[in-house]
Structure formats: structure tokens, C-alpha cells
């Protein structure tokens, strides 16, 4: 049993703890309770109808499917970016490092409009892709591209510090002891980095599932095909169906909590 109050040289535990609780209630807890409360006006049947109608189910498939692909793509390429940023020195490294954070800083609507312009059939990248028979904008591929864009920093920024803390001596020791390069990577590097990588991928996934601003522009919003779940929440609101909107939101909340739980598990792995 941990003691109730950790001794510290800096006083003010009661004050700061009180502030934390008040702050979290105000910013996070109360809105979430209100959300659940709004959806509680529905009967069980109306609730399941709202969250499991074919159109909503199609949006889950799109939202979760594209988010997963985007997170995995980021897992792979984000890892490489983190590796390059930590292990090599090159001119313009500071700039590249800053570029990684751009998706954080850019308003998502701006990203969405920019990506749509580039990937639409007359766009800079859309035109050559169209010539190859690939439609990017207004298809699930376009949605995946937008979600990959917004998820990139999550993987890079979680893997980077762990990689930085990893001493290159360890790899050298592995090689001296006769490990091949592949063995050094899979048996020495990867186990140390895996928790951070998984945390990054899961965060990117969680962020992508809830993303609205950048996706609505490039998705095309075709019913049953390219409607993301947050868009369906908006369409419910347009019909003044507050309870139905809240019901879908509660489903997304459950998913978010599950993801956060997974993230905390991965972080425990990292500490272990």
C-alpha cells in the first residue's frame, strides 16, 4: 500500500491536487457525463438502431479500417524518420525535425483542403495517379492519406526519446558477441523500442478515429462508401437528433477508452 501523501520538499499537495480534480472535472469529466446523459434518453432499441444501422456500421468500417492502415503506415515510416533523426547528423536536420510537428500545428481544415487540392483528379499528385488508374481523393485511399498525415508526429515523437536513450554501445556489444545485423535489430533494438512504437501507433490510431476537419474535405462523404463516423454524428445533429448523435459519440468514447487502456498497458511494458 502506497502512502496517501508522498513526502516532497515542495509543499502544496492539497492545493495542487484539489486544482487537478476541479480542472479535470470541468474540462473532461462533466462534458463526458453530459454526453452519456444525453444518450440515456433513448430506449435500448433506439440506441442499438442508432449505433448499428447499416450506414453507421459502414462508417465504422471506414473509420477504423483507414485509421488502422494509417497508423501502421506511420508505425513503419515514422520509425524510419525517428531513426534518421536520432542516429544521423546531416545539414537541415533541425528543419526536418520541425516538419514532423507540422501536422500538430496546422489547422486540420487547412491540411484537408491542401491534401484535396493535391490529390484530386486535376491536382499535382492526383493527375499522375489518375493516369495509373488510381483515384486518391474522394475514396478510402484519400481518407487514409489524410489520417496518415495527421498521425505522423505521434509515432516519431514517442519513438525518438526512447531511441535517444538507447546506447549505441549495446548494439556494438551485440555485434562483438557475434550477432548478425538482423539479429542485432530484432533481438536487441526492437524489444527495447517495441513498447514506445506500439504506444505511438495506438495514439496515432486513436487520433485518426476521431479526426474530422481534415477528412471531410478529401473523403467526398458518399453514403455507405466514404462517410466517416464523426460525419454521421454531424448529420444526426443536423436533424436535431441529439440523442442519436450522443449514442454514436458514446460508442466512439468506449473505443477511445479501450485505446487509452491499451496505451497505458504498453507504457507499463516500457517501464518493466
Amino acid at each position: 500500500m502506497k502512502p496517501f501523501k508522498q513526502p516532497s520538499v515542495i509543499p502544496g499537495f492539497g492545493l495542487s491536487m484539489g486544482f487537478t480534480l476541479a480542472y479535470l472535472s470541468l474540462i473532461v469529466l462533466i462534458p463526458l457525463v453530459a454526453l452519456v446523459f444525453k444518450s440515456s434518453g433513448l430506449t435500448w432499441q433506439a440506441f442499438t438502431e442508432a449505433v448499428a444501422s447499416p450506414r453507421v456500421a459502414a462508417s465504422y468500417r471506414l473509420s477504423f479500417g483507414t485509421s488502422l492502415v494509417a497508423a501502421l503506415v506511420n508505425g513503419f515510416f515514422g520509425f524510419i524518420v525517428a531513426w534518421v533523426l536520432v542516429r544521423y547528423k546531416f545539414p537541415g536536420k533541425g528543419l526536418v525535425d520541425m516538419l514532423v510537428d507540422l501536422p500538430f500545428a496546422l489547422p486540420t481544415a487547412v491540411a484537408g483542403i491542401a491534401l484535396t487540392t493535391i490529390y484530386s483528379q486535376n491536382g499535382f499528385l492526383g493527375k499522375p495517379l489518375e493516369a495509373l488508374g488510381i483515384k486518391a481523393a474522394f475514396t478510402p485511399l484519400g481518407v487514409t492519406i489524410a489520417l496518415t498525415f495527421i498521425g505522423l508526429p505521434f509515432v516519431v515523437r514517442t519513438v525518438q526519446p526512447v531511441l535517444q536513450a538507447l546506447d549505441p554501445d549495446v548494439e556494438e556489444a551485440a555485434v562483438c558477441l557475434g550477432a548478425t545485423r538482423w539479429q542485432t535489430f530484432t533481438k536487441v533494438l526492437l524489444p527495447a523500442l517495441l513498447p514506445a512504437l506500439l504506444t505511438g501507433i495506438t495514439s496515432a490510431f486513436a487520433r485518426a478515429v476521431g479526426e474530422y476537419g481534415s477528412v471531410v474535405f478529401i473523403a467526398g462523404n458518399m453514403p455507405m462508401k466514404t462517410e466517416i463516423t464523426p460525419l454521421l454524428i454531424i448529420t444526426k445533429l443536423e436533424q436535431y437528433d441529439y440523442a442519436g448523435a450522443a449514442a454514436i459519440a458514446v460508442m466512439m468514447l468506449v473505443v477511445s477508452f479501450t485505446l487509452l487502456f491499451l496505451i497505458s498497458l504498453f507504457q507499463k511494458m516500457e517501464r518493466a
Partner: protein, 343 residues
């Protein structure tokens, strides 16, 4: 033990203080000058900028004090929800009567018969849905019939999220009903064929205009007449032209005083005068300049050359009003969902 007590007391104290600060409402502002809050929808921004300046002059010439009108613009449904949730609008000027109905119903801020308070269904200006095509009309689009033909790209926003897009679908439906002597099954077939030609459903009207104009997607844009004029005049007469279909819908964007809010703000008279001024010759003139069709006969005659004559049906006569049209066409399971479920 003592520390726990102290700890709990501190928590309570701080929690209480934070909530206390959050709940203390700011004192109401001094009454001079009068501020009116007009909550409107997207394409009226320029119209009301002009109109507000004119009204302020008019009000002062009548012996009133200075008036400052604040405008807020956004999707019509989103704006209505903001008013329901407590945005203290003095007047609302939205795209659909359905959205003001929702305010009346959900918040009780104005009476349910609000639409009878002002002339012409509380719609001082009207608009309609026309086609914007590329210069020279390369696909020879003349009427609604052509939009359902294979190989035509039609750009229109998603009626689930855009008020303007609802007028588009209803206009197409009205045309099909007229052509097929009121056969609803045929009308549905026609509308389904038309939406098969839609490659993108943007979330709002301006988004669709961007898709058509900037990205060069599609052969025809279904647009508000005022947006179509704006696109032609601002973006180039050499790039686009307007095609007027044989039949379209009379879009009546309504206005209303939010009665409980004006009582609270003591702005009843000025808010009423503000909306009345929309019906005056000066107000009508400003609307016409911004490509909205004026109601007043003299102003309408003056601008008759600008607005092509066409057969316009109203939502009340063709669909029995928004209260019937919204659930039938646009709510979950409505006509719009049905044509996509059948794809």
C-alpha cells in the same frame, strides 16, 4: 489524520473556488450603443455587411441611437443549434424555415407561429437553384433531364449536412413530379439516377463551389442563384455560365426576431425595425444587388432583367412545408438514404 482533513478541506476549497469563478456571470453591458446580434448562414455575409451599414444610418435618421450589428455566419443548422444552446441572437436569418422551427420547438425562444409575423412567409428575399456549367456548355446541359444522363458529373453538397443541398434535391424532385404527372416512384428513380452522377458530396455549399470551380471536377454545379452569380462575376465570365432549368424551387430564406432574447436585451423595437427594413425599398435594393430576388414589386421590376423568369414551385405547395419535407426526404431512412441504400 490531521493532514487528510486538511487535504480534503483544501480540495473542497479549491474545487468550490474554480466552480464559483466559472459560474459568476459577467455583468451586462451598458445600453449605449445598442448592439444587435444577427445569426445568419454562410452565403449572406456580404449582403448583411452592406445592409447593416444602411440600417444603422436609417435608424439614426429616424432619431434612434447608434446601432452596432454583429453578424455570425455558418451552416444554417449549426447556427440554429447554437441559438438553441444559448447563443443570444436578437434576430436569426437562416437558410430554411425548418431550422427556425427547430429553435421555436426546442428552446421556446420564439412562438411556433413565428413565420406568420412578417409578410411573405417571413422571407424578405428569395433565391432559387440554378445550374453553373463550364463556358460554352460543352455537355449541352439544358434542363434537369440532362443531369441524370450517364457521363455527366454533377456537383452538389450532402443534403444531410447542407441546407442548400436540400433545396437542390427538392428542386430535382419537383421537376420529376411535374414531368411524370405526380408519380413519386418515377421521381425517386430520376433523383437516384441524378445522384449516381455525383462524385463528391461536400459538407457545405461553399465546399461544392470550390470542388467545381477550383478543382475542376464535374460538368455542372447545382447552386444557389446568388452563389452562381457570384462565381460567374467574381471568378470570370470566360470560365462559367449559368443555365436556368425549366422548373426550380423558390427558396425562401426566412428571418425572425428571437422574442425572448430581445425582451432580455431590451432590443424589441430595434430588432423589429431591422427586419422591417429588409422589406423596405432600400433593403430590397441591397438584396437585389447581392443577387437575391427581391419581393417588392417596384424593385423586382427594376432588376427583372437580372433574374431570368422560370417556373418556380414553393416548398409549401409542392411538399407541404419543411415539417413534412425534412422527415420524408432527409431524416434517417428518408428518400436520400433510400436512394443510396439501393445503389
Amino acid at each position: 489524520m490531521k493532514t487528510i482533513k486538511k487535504y480534503v478541506r483544501n480540495i473542497l476549497w479549491v474545487t468550490g473556488a474554480v466552480f464559483g469563478i466559472a459560474c459568476t456571470s459577467l455583468p451586462s453591458q451598458a445600453a449605449d450603443p445598442v448592439t444587435l446580434y444577427n445569426v445568419s448562414y454562410d452565403p449572406t455575409r456580404e449582403l448583411y455587411q452592406d445592409f447593416n451599414a444602411a440600417f444603422s444610418k436609417h435608424w439614426q435618421s429616424k432619431g434612434g441611437g447608434p446601432v452596432e450589428v454583429k453578424q455570425s455566419h455558418g451552416g444554417s443548422g449549426k447556427q440554429a443549434r447554437a441559438v438553441i444552446d444559448g447563443l443570444e441572437a436578437d434576430v436569426v436569418t437562416l437558410a430554411l424555415a425548418y431550422d427556425i422551427d427547430a429553435i421555436a420547438e426546442k428552446s421556446g425562444l420564439l412562438p411556433k407561429d413565428w413565420q406568420a409575423k412578417l409578410p411573405n412567409n417571413s422571407a424578405p428575399y428569395t433565391s432559387t437553384i440554378v445550374f453553373l456549367v463550364r463556358k460554352g456548355n460543352p455537355k449541352a446541359i439544358k434542363d434537369w433531364e440532362d443531369l441524370a444522363k450517364p457521363g455527366i458529373g454533377v456537383i452538389t453538397p450532402n443534403p444531410k449536412t447542407s441546407g442548400g443541398a436540400r433545396w437542390n434535391l427538392l428542386a430535382a424532385w419537383a421537376y420529376a413530379l411535374k414531368k411524370n404527372a405526380g408519380d413519386e416512384a418515377k421521381a425517386k428513380e430520376f433523383v437516384a439516377a441524378l445522384y449516381k452522377n455525383v462524385p463528391v458530396l461536400d459538407s457545405g455549399a461553399r465546399g461544392s463551389t470550390t470542388t467545381f470551380v477550383e478543382r475542376g471536377i464535374g460538368d455542372v454545379l447545382l447552386a444557389w442563384e446568388n452563389e452562381a452569380f457570384l462565381a460567374v462575376n467574381e471568378l470570370g465570365k470566360d470560365k462559367f455560365e449559368i443555365v436556368v432549368p425549366s422548373v426550380s424551387i423558390l427558396a425562401e430564406p426566412p428571418v425572425a426576431v428571437v422574442e425572448k432574447n430581445v425582451v432580455k436585451h431590451k432590443t424589441e423595437t430595434v430588432a423589429k425595425a431591422y427586419l422591417d427594413y429588409l422589406y423596405s425599398p432600400e433593403g430590397q435594393e441591397i438584396a437585389a444587388k447581392h443577387y437575391y430576388r427581391p419581393r417588392e414589386a417596384a424593385v423586382a421590376a427594376k432588376y427583372a432583367a437580372k433574374f431570368p423568369k422560370l417556373n418556380l414551385v414553393t416548398i409549401d405547395e409542392a411538399f407541404g412545408g419543411w415539417q413534412k419535407a425534412q422527415p420524408k426526404f432527409f431524416n434517417d431512412g428518408g428518400v436520400f438514404d433510400q436512394i443510396y441504400a439501393a445503389h
